[in-house]
Amino acid sequence: MAVNLKVSESATRENRLGSITGYNGTLFELAKSGCAGCLQNKKRTFQTTSNCAHTHCINQLAGLAGTLVVDHAPGGCSASQICFSAVKSRIPAPPGTLQHARVISTDLNETDTIFGALDKLRDRVRAAYDRHHPREIYIATSCVSAIIGEDVNSVADELTQELGIPVVMASAEGLRSKIWASGFDAYCHAASRARLKPKNERNNTINYIGFTNLGQDKVNPLFERLGLELIALTATASIEDFDRACSSVASFGQCGAQSSYLCGALEDVCDVRYFQHHLPYGGIGFERFFRDIAKHIGREEDAEAVIAEEKAKYMPIIEENKRRLKGKRVFIALGASFAYEYTRLLKELDIETVHAVAYHYDPKLDNANQEEKVAAATDVIELKLDVETSVNDGQAVETLQLIRKYQPDAVLTRGHDAGSWGVVEGIPALGCEIGLILMGYRGLAMFSTALADLVTNNNMLKNLAKHYKAPFSANYDNLAPHSFYRKVV
């Protein structure tokens, strides 16, 4: 069990799970060495900008209802939070019902780096409390607060007493980990310390941990057939949602990156079983996942009926899309879980995945039963799933070389810019859906329709590619893929 809520800091993915950001080979080899505990990370001599654990810790914490985050950092370390809060003014909701993420920076300056800024932190937390009266406050640490050695945890304990609400530290230093998902862990660690309580009773509820509950309306009826109500521990989840989640019969997550730590903590603290080795995406994924859950609560027959109905309902659309997509070759650049989930989805559609880039790889997750492998390794074992793959932390210059090498018909991606590198080369990119909306045969029907439409009519991109001038020299153009790894001496 890797989750330890007794300590104030979450361990990074590198240290806790042996996760990596540098690899090239096959999924089969990756999964095999991951399972054997002998996975080696490859480091780079040349790299480009990546992403930040700090950002992802804060955007998740600030997304929770009733919460406020004090960022103990220079002002710029919370600048990108608008990217996660801008959506608030676009959501169809009655005026006055939504509020922005509440993130208040201590705006550390040069003097603070010399003399420390714990008094400033105390003042800002108090003032933030006065302004918004939240039900809990999280204090996020940063590269700067860590390097100057600020004892933030003591201040958090002190202010918990003073303000009478939980004030909890989240260890969100960007320099601690190359894996931005370590920031999700820091969020889950802090939120678990504030919100999880051991419970004896079990309710007919199942927890879903993810960014958003988009698609919940589509999957609720499926869980209801098993007599289960879904609790979404996503953005805007309240203290009460977390409280109810402590008595659920099971948890599952959107992916290993965002959800593993909180699911693991729920299992550890509240004995809520964490299902992670079969993710519920596409038809195959759904069947295995739904049978696992049904077996856990003794509702196997109901599950079989639901599976049969869902299959009958959506297979005609899926079959039609398979016909439209026959012979297409697809390139993937996605997170640690979804890179291989989509590899399986494509296989289900009889489409070749020419290469899958994962932004990192977790050889294991935070589930108690370590006999159960991570979803990608499970697919290698159960389905003989294999694909040429590499791992890079959003290294677009590496991904571009691979896109150029394979000249796929489409790039599947989301965020981190791999899509735009395909697009300028004339290859369409799909911003993939993840989470509940992708679940089951319905998810596969939706995805395959989007993909079939994506590869139809690319006049705009063909024209763009003709006029595009890449910023690279012939030296780069002539490099073989994977040339940026540091030579191991």
Binding site: S105, I147, F211
Partner: protein, 471 residues
């Protein structure tokens, strides 16, 4: 209520965001000595949440970075930076490279000047700039980058000044959401007036435009305070005088004044200028007549104006809103940490345009982007005295919650793509009218609406939110 200063809802980003000024100059390649996510913070604020743009030539994801981590704190990262720079120069087509350090590498004391010095013999000049976020925001970073280029790259001209050449400074690229289109339109106007505008940002400019900077007859600073240090430095180093104009002119009155001032300062052909003014104004008045029905022709466009924006945007829009659009400023928040010595000038320029029944209004200098929302929340029912809000994407929700017509005028401006939109000049008046009116009619039904509202629905429960997110 605590008296402590708060810093909420960032209206600026990290000093490292200053690197976007380098990225705005064609083929100037930044090499970052900063944490793995430092650039994404600025890129999120200045790109994704500010018109969904990415820099050309080098998009964010192509920017080399050492991705400074824990082991570098212990062992130092200068060697890795040297190697990274070496490889970057090999793999990228660049005319100029600029090494930039962030907080972590600054605190541990890596000497980026020394690393840059290793590339003295390189075909591509390698400059260096220190951009730790604990020293300032992106506006400060912008100044550091321009100062580095002038100090370390530009050399004094050998010939006399090029008659009519004017360098344009003041607009902070990417931070001003409309920077590029404004510069494009400004360039066209200056050419029409008989000047030779020299702009360093954007396509087809690059190193050649940079090299021309010392040759200018004068520099034009089109901003209340940014780049005044640059103007002074250029004056000192190259003897170039400068014209300081307080803001980007928006609308008829401001643009005509701007032209007159330019004509006077640079001794331009007045007849040509008057011809341009006449033609442009009559075009705008044609549209104004067309739109008379929509604008104050029986509508209830709220005239009380809140502004929560950078000094540059606040000045442009407040002056225009008073002079040409009938607005009454109520309170103006200026949020980019303006140096104290520049604040009086900004207040003077904000309050310069008068109107009948003129009332004084408050101007607040702050780094607390959330202060405006708190101020607006003090009034419970804004339907009694409706107002309009010009601000950022953060403010869009405040506007929605209070049914204020809203215009994004300042960074981060993230719910719409901007592409070539600009409020500059005569045409800016039309863009403004179109945007604001279209927003306002989505917020008011008016008493003549044949529609029934569900009055039972009171806003009480916060709904599940679909977070825009990437994994």
């Amino acid at each position: 209520m605590s008296e402590c200063k708060l810093y909420e809802q960032n209206r600026t980003c990290c000093a490292l965001g200053g690197i976007f000024t380098a990225l705005a100059i064609e083929k100037v390649l930044p090499v970052l000595h900063a944490g793995p996510g430092c650039h994404s913070q600025s890129g999120g604020f200045l790109g994704m949440a500010n018109g969904f743009t990415a820099p050309v030539t080098y998009p964010d994801s192509a920017v080399p970075s050492t991705n400074f981590c824990e082991e570098d704190v212990v062992f130092g990262g200068a060697d890795r930076l040297r190697k990274l720079t070496e490889e970057a120069l090999k793999y990228y087509n660049a005319d100029l490279a600029i090494i930039a350090s962030g907080c972590t590498s600054e605190i541990v004391g890596d000497n980026i000047g020394e690393v840059a010095g290793n590339f003295e013999d390189s075909d591509v000049p390698v400059l260096h700039v220190s951009l730790p976020g604990f020293k300032g925001n992106n506006v400060w970073g912008h100044s550091q980058v321009l100062n580095a280029i002038i100090d370390q790259y530009l050399t004094p001209r050998e010939v006399k000044a090029n008659k009519g050449q004017v360098n344009i400074f003041g607009i902070v690229p990417y931070f001003d959401p409309y920077w590029f289109s404004t510069l494009e339109k400004l360039e066209r106007l200056l050419l029409d007036l008989g000047l030779k505008p020299n702009i360093i940002y954007g396509p087809g400019k690059g190193i050649a435009a940079l090299n021309r900077v010392p040759d200018a007859e004068f520099n034009l600073i089109l901003a209340p305070w940014t780049d005044l240090d640059i103007a002074e430095k250029l004056k000192e180093k190259f003897g170039t005088p400068y014209l300081h104009y307080p803001c980007v002119p928006v609308g008829i009155s401001e643009t005509t004044d701007f032209i007159h001032e330019l004509v006077k300062y640079a001794d331009l052909d007045i007849n040509n200028a008057e011809e341009i003014i006449k033609k442009s104004e009559s075009r705008i008045y044609y549209y104004l007549q067309q739109q008379a029905k929509a604008w104050y022709g029986g509508s209830m466009m709220p005239k009380r104006l809140f502004v929560n924006a950078s000094a540059a945007a606040a000045l442009s829009f407040v002056r225009f809103a008073i002079r040409d659009m009938n607005f009454i400023p109520y309170k103006v928040f200026i949020t980019e940490d303006v140096p104290e010595e520049r604040q009086t000038y900004i207040i003077e320029k904000l309050k310069e345009p008068k109107y009948d029944g003129w009332q004084d209004f408050d101007v607040v200098f702050t780094t607390d982007g959330g202060a405006c929302d708190i101020e607006i929340k003090k009034v419970k029912d804004w339907s009694l005295s409706r107002a309009t809000l010009f601000g950022t994407t953060w403010d869009e929700l405040t506007a929605k919650n209070n049914a204020f017509p809203f215009l994004a005028i300042s960074a981060p401006s993230g719910n719409d793509v901007i592409i070539d939109k600009s409020y500059f000049g005569y045409d800016g008046e039309l863009v403004f009218m179109r945007d604001l009116y279209n927003d306002s009619i989505r917020k008011f039904l008016g008493s003549g609406a044949v529609a029934k509202l569900d009055v039972a629905k009171t806003p009480s429960v916060e709904r599940k939110v679909q977070a825009a997110h990437v994994c």
